[in-house]
């Protein structure tokens, strides 16, 4: 974990209301792993107390990109950021997705990514670095919530889209194309799920993984305080050998083995 002053390099529309913010980062960008996050210390709003946490969407060569939607006081204030502006960057934070060793004798299981809306963000960095190409299932309320699909396709990943209003891809939730694909799989097919999105989506993926005897890794999104495990605001109930314990989403997660989550 490092704290550095970072400079805005690019700030662009990513489709819908979403923005991609690219920062110059001397040390954090090259250290970040898929599923980890950073927190931004913003100059505005001036009366804000907390930093703002964001999954890292892409990183490398001294650059780091996050994907965000202006929904609250902090993210709305971020719309004013311009190239050259400086801000405080803390990271890499938390534990990300488990990555198979690149020199493994056996290729890893087929990776199946499931995203809701801007949940594609940490999955994109995973797709870029994963030693095997796989599939992305992405859902959203409307076509304006479906982001970065061409970027996944450019990496050679198979993309399936669903929208609740039917404006793009299949009509329905992301589980509609996912279930179609799962039904067509061989009975004993093995794959690994990686998911990021609303809790309902993560739970749905966890149920399908459990039913099929597959592993699933889910990235939780919670309101955080410190982002480093100190304040105990963003805790999640976990199963720990039959005992229920609190896990800190920011420090012990944000990525957890779905089988450990106590879904409430």
């Amino acid at each position: 974990m490092q704290l550095e002053t970072s400079t805005v390099m690019e700030h662009e529309l990513a489709g819908g209301d979403y923005r991609l913010l690219t920062l110059a980062s001397q040390r954090i960008a090259d250290a970040v792993l898929p599923g980890q996050f950073v927190s931004l210390g913003l100059a505005a709003p001036a009366d804000a107390i907390l930093r703002r946490p964001f999954s890292v969407c892409d990183a490398g060569a001294g650059r780091l990109t996050i994907l965000y939607k202006p929904v609250g006081r902090g993210t709305r204030a971020m719309l004013a950021l311009r190239a050259g502006d400086s801000l405080s960057l803390l990271g890499p934070l938390g534990h990300g997705f488990p990555m198979p060793p690149s020199d493994a004798a056996q290729p890893p299981l087929l990776p199946v990514l499931v995203a809701g809306g801007y949940g594609v963000a940490p999955l994109y960095l995973l797709a870029r670095r994963y030693p095997r190409r796989g599939l992305l299932f992405v859902g959203g309320a409307t076509g304006r919530d479906i982001l970065m699909t061409s970027a996944f396709a450019a990496l050679g990943w198979e993309v399936h889209v669903a929208t609740e209003d039917g404006s793009l891809g299949e009509h329905g939730r992301v589980t509609t194309p996912l279930d179609t694909w799962l039904a067509a799989c061989e009975v004993d097919a093995k794959h690994d799920f990686f998911a990021c999105g609303p809790t309902g989506l993560l739970h749905a993926v966890a149920q399908r993984a459990a039913a099929g005897g597959q592993r699933a890794w889910v990235s939780l999104d919670r309101h955080m305080g410190c982002g480093v495990g100190a304040c105990l605001a963003c805790v999640q109930r976990l199963n720990n050998d039959g005992e229920k314990v609190w896990g800190r989403v920011c420090k012990d997660g944000p990525v957890f083995d779905a089988a450990r989550i106590v879904w409430e």
Binding site: M1, Q2, L3, G41, P45, D47, A48, I49, L50, R51, R73, S88, L90, R222, H223, G225, C226, G227, V228, G229, A230, C231, L232, A233, C234, V235, W246, K251
Partner: protein
């Protein structure tokens, strides 16, 4: 004749026999057990670290949501989640002992006997330098705040802790009392070596769309810049009422707020919520106090503490 530079100001203070290299501590609940922030804020630079509140048995804390940001502050109801005194000693003291930083352990209980037992257990634990006695947490239904808003109960807790430890003890007072001087005097008479104030102010936030309280605990405690002027007045009143050192807490987010507490009569300060926004804020505050002392030709903290000019 060459002009020699003035020697750097001496920021050291002594709190109940405990010598601190500077008057800047990090407040309980906002810095974990030190390990969480050690990468970006060298612990050895701090005056002291006050760790997250410890109880006799492990405590699960409150349901979530536990924290909400409001303009100028935070409202929290974490509920004093902690691994219990044995868990704390086993999990965190080996790390803290290796750092050259005084460790102040914040302790709490639901009954007076629990405070006494935790104090007794920590007495003699290598690396533990002092106890902060939390009699003012607004987020525990029984105990905690109850002790901090009744004079006799506050004194009884402090007396019980005093009887069970040789460590310096510093009760942490609640802000929502009618006469803070009386509480400061009561804990001084009960054997406190210093008095720390203020804890967060009882507060509540409602989501008007759902008409539900935002926090699972319904209410919580307000901290941050919003409570700073309240804390300054209370620190000023407490410092005039007692002989023991006063530690100012509440909304320190830069050198200016720390200096206000010191000028009002505090011998040291604690930084709380501001650690979340800038994990290195304590270093900035320490440097800012030194700069101020140079500008005002002050050589030691004695020149600064209680230097308020009242017309």
């Amino acid at each position: 004749m060459t002009k020699t530079a003035a020697p750097p100001p001496d920021l050291a203070v002594t709190i109940g026999g405990l010598r601190l290299r500077n008057p800047v501590m990090v407040a309980s609940g906002t810095f974990g057990y030190g390990v969480e922030y050690a990468d970006v804020m060298p612990l050895a630079e701090l005056g002291a670290i006050v760790v997250k509140g410890i109880s006799l048995a492990p405590c699960a804390g409150n349901a979530t949501p536990r924290l909400v940001e409001v303009p100028g502050g935070l409202v929290n109801a974490i509920g004093l989640q902690n691994p219990g005194v044995e868990g704390f000693i086993a999990q965190y003291m080996p790390f803290l002992r290796r750092r050259a930083v005084p460790v102040v352990v914040n302790i709490w209980g639901r009954r007076i006997e629990e405070y006494a037992e935790v104090a007794a257990r920590l007495d003699g634990v290598p690396g533990v330098h002092a106890l902060e006695v939390n009699i003012s947490c607004p987020n525990i239904k029984d105990g905690g705040h109850v002790f901090g808003t009744r004079l006799d109960a506050a004194a009884a807790v402090v007396a019980a802790v005093r009887a069970n430890t040789r460590l310096p003890i510093m009760p942490k007072l609640a802000p929502n009392v009618s006469d803070i001087a009386a509480f400061a005097q009561a804990v001084e008479a009960a054997g406190a070596d210093a008095v720390a104030l203020i804890n967060s102010y009882p507060a509540m936030v409602i989501d008007v769309e759902t008409r539900r309280p935002v926090l699972a605990n319904v209410s919580g405690g307000l901290s941050g810049p919003a409570i700073h002027p309240i804390a300054v007045k209370l620190v000023y009143e407490a410092a005039r009422a007692v002989q023991i050192p006063v530690i100012g807490i509440g909304g320190v987010s830069g050198p200016r707020e720390a200096l206000e507490f010191l000028i009002a009569g505090a011998s040291a300060v604690q930084i709380g919520s501001a650690n979340f926004g800038d994990p290195a804020v304590a270093g900035r505050v320490i440097e800012g106090i030194a700069d101020y002392m140079r500008r005002h030709a002050m050589s030691s903290m004695r020149d600064l503490i209680g230097s308020l000019n009242v017309l």
